[in-house]
């Protein structure tokens, strides 16, 4: 058997990929180290291992209330943005709407505006309308910036959609409603779900919009963390970040289990 020849191109390819992965994962690694390091400041190398910051995080009423609220809001945003985003995508792709391109740009526009301005504008509108800052107002704000993700991923699926499948169902006697639920929806589901995952993560980590729309004693986790950092920069912040990361990964895994992620990976 001859020894494998050294392939410089292949080695370079792996080195580049390794560098990119390291670059992407390094911040998470630093946060993980900080989260278990006993010192109340970032120090390297770590001087030991402790779970006291996780204990502080989980025993803090403020952190727990914020975590719970963030989760509730993110789930609501996930559902709403999937409904609105999918409906908009179908209308834009198939509705023969006049000015569909303009409408698409309009629906995508929340992503183009600085989110802090969107938050400030919503805050002002709510106050002028006498609504105050209810939780549903916060959910609406998050949904505004989450819908474009679902819209974009669903439009991508619809772009490659083979409409002959629907026509075949119609020829075989299926009603439009049945076609939608048994043909169209299963086929666009990967796009909707992919967008929904983005929507959940965008909402869960949303800071600029929440900054203006949260109520006292009703703050989301990113807002609580930001305010905490101004006065107490310790490992509890890193512990909270680790919990957030685990939470996001859990949602992705849960959706994979429930709906199947492999289909959307093809996108």
């Amino acid at each position: 058997m001859s020894a494998r020849r050294f392939d410089a191109g292949r080695a370079g390819y792996f080195a580049l990929n390794g560098a990119i992965v390291t670059f992407l994962l390094a911040p998470i690694a630093i946060v993980a180290v900080f989260a278990v390091n006993p010192t109340p400041y970032i120090s390297f190398p770590p001087v030991g291992v402790t779970l006291r910051w996780f204990e502080k995080f989980f025993s803090s009423e403020d952190f727990m209330n914020a975590l719970w609220l963030s989760l509730q809001v993110a789930v609501a945003v996930l559902v709403l943005s999937m409904l609105i985003g999918a409906a908009c995508a179908l209308a834009l792709a198939r509705g023969n709407l006049p000015g569909a391109r303009v409408l698409t740009a309009f629906f995508m526009s929340p992503l183009m505006l600085p989110a802090i301005l969107t938050g400030l504008a919503l805050f002002q509108i709510y106050l002028l309308a006498g609504i105050g800052r209810p939780v549903w107002g916060l959910i609406m704000g998050h949904t505004l910036v989450a819908v474009p993700y679902v819209l974009r991923t669903t439009l991508a699926v619809l772009h490659n959609f083979d409409r002959r499948i629907e026509e075949a169902a119609a020829i075989l006697g299926a009603s439009p409603v049945r076609i939608f639920f048994e043909v169209t929806l299963p086929l666009i589901r990967p796009g909707v779900v992919a967008g929904g995952i983005f929507a959940f993560i965008v909402s869960f980590d949303q800071f600029p919009i929440s900054l203006f729309l949260v109520l006292p004693k009703g703050e989301t986790l990113p807002v609580v963390l930001f305010n905490y950092m101004k006065f107490d920069l310790d490992g509890a912040i890193a512990a909270a970040s680790m919990v957030s990361i685990v939470m996001a990964i859990s949602v992705v895994l849960l959706l994979e289990k429930l709906i199947g992620l492999k289909a959307y990976v093809k996108l």
């Binding site: 400041y41 970032i42 805050f123 106050l127 203006f212 109520l215 930001f226 305010n227 950092m229 920069l233």
Partner: protein, 349 residues
């Protein structure tokens, strides 16, 4: 068909019921008035939420909605002036001046409405203050005691070449301490707080310097020895008292800028009497003592008797208070954009 008659009694009953229905929200509102305030987080927030605010709510039969989520001033600016989002604004002095110029807060408080104003040190209600300063901390120099450094005696000690890369300051556009330090540089190296050319030149000499957004980050930089000497308020060092940390605070001979904790009332507040009562409560000796000893802030009320270790360090006598310097924030705010541009250029190059 029977003819239905409406008796006077029925009319009165219906009328009374209707009146009660319409009046009920007002009565309920009066019984559970809500005071909307801003307040800090951290240890201060813990004490406020844990005991200070619940006691006030009980005394005044009201509820307090305390916003700890920054930024306070943009939220106040964005809310209607006739129905502001806050009744009492708690910020540092620079932001209060900004709000006053925009008509968002009342300039002064009345002793008749806030009787405890009669007992505060003059600086707390001076011409440099909007509303009232309920506490202050002193901006001076923090330093590591394990780095062979002599205790600093002057602001000029921060420019010692030995501290290159080990001195700490702030991102001046976003931090009150950084802004106060810049004005202090004008005073020490030039003709006064307003001598910006001298201040810029002195700032240039402090490079390389590590810059931070918040005092909390500076505190951690001290603890981790990332910084050996830096600008910080006394509270940021003293709060580690008893934790065996090699850090200390120095009061430079040129004096220390006051970092005032200021309360003011918004003109459009619907519960002004409650707002004044809250400020009066915050100035009460027992409340002042609790918070002063909890977070190492110097109380404004002259009648506060602090425990020995706090008494030794905090600014609570006329002689000690005389070392506090109040900054010309109105003047600074008027030039803030130009100053921000200039310091950004200096510190980036």
């Amino acid at each position: 068909m029977t003819k239905r008659t409406i008796s006077r009694r029925t009319v009165m009953q219906v009328g009374a019921a209707a009146a009660a229905t319409f009046a009920a929200p007002a009565i309920l509102h009066a019984q559970t008035a809500t005071l909307k305030i801003t307040t800090w987080g951290g240890k201060w927030g813990e004490i406020m939420k844990g005991s200070v605010l619940p006691a006030f709510e009980k005394e005044h039969k009201c509820s307090v909605s305390a916003d700890q989520a920054f930024p306070f001033v943009p939220k106040l600016q964005a809310s209607p002036k006739k129905d502001p989002i806050y009744d009492v604004l708690h910020t540092n002095s620079n932001e209060q001046w900004k709000c006053l110029v925009e008509g968002l807060v009342e300039p002064k408080l009345d002793t008749k409405k806030v009787p405890n104003l009669a007992d505060v040190y003059p600086y707390a209600i001076s011409e440099s203050i909007v509303g009232v300063s309920i506490f202050t901390s002193a901006i001076g120099l923090g330093y590591r005691t394990d780095k062979g450094l002599a205790k600093p005696t002057s602001w000029k000690d921060l420019a010692d070449p030995k501290l290159a890369g080990m001195r700490g300051g702030y991102l001046i556009p976003v931090n009150s301490l950084g802004q106060a330090h810049l004005m202090m540089l004008g005073k020490i190296y030039g003709k006064g707080f307003q001598d910006l050319d001298a201040a810029y030149k002195a700032l240039e000499q402090l490079k390389p310097i590590k810059l931070f957004d918040f005092t909390g980050q500076m505190e951690k930089a001290f603890l981790s020895a990332e910084v050996s000497m830096g600008v910080i308020h006394d509270s940021g060092i003293y709060r580690y008292d008893g934790q065996n940390q090699p850090i200390d605070f120095a009061i430079p001979k040129e004096g220390v800028p006051a970092l005032e904790q200021v309360l003011s009332v918004t003109p459009g507040s619907k519960v002004k009497e409650l707002a004044y009562a809250y400020i009066n409560y915050m100035l009460r000796p027992d409340v002042q003592k609790q918070l002063a000893e909890g977070v190492w802030y110097s109380p404004s009320n002259k009648k506060v008797n602090l425990d020995a270790k706090y008494d030794a360090r905090l600014f609570n006598t006329p002689e000690k208070v005389a070392q506090l310097i109040q900054m010309p924030w109105k003047w600074y705010n008027e030039r803030k954009d130009d100053i921000d541009t200039r310091v950004a250029r200096i510190l980036k190059s």
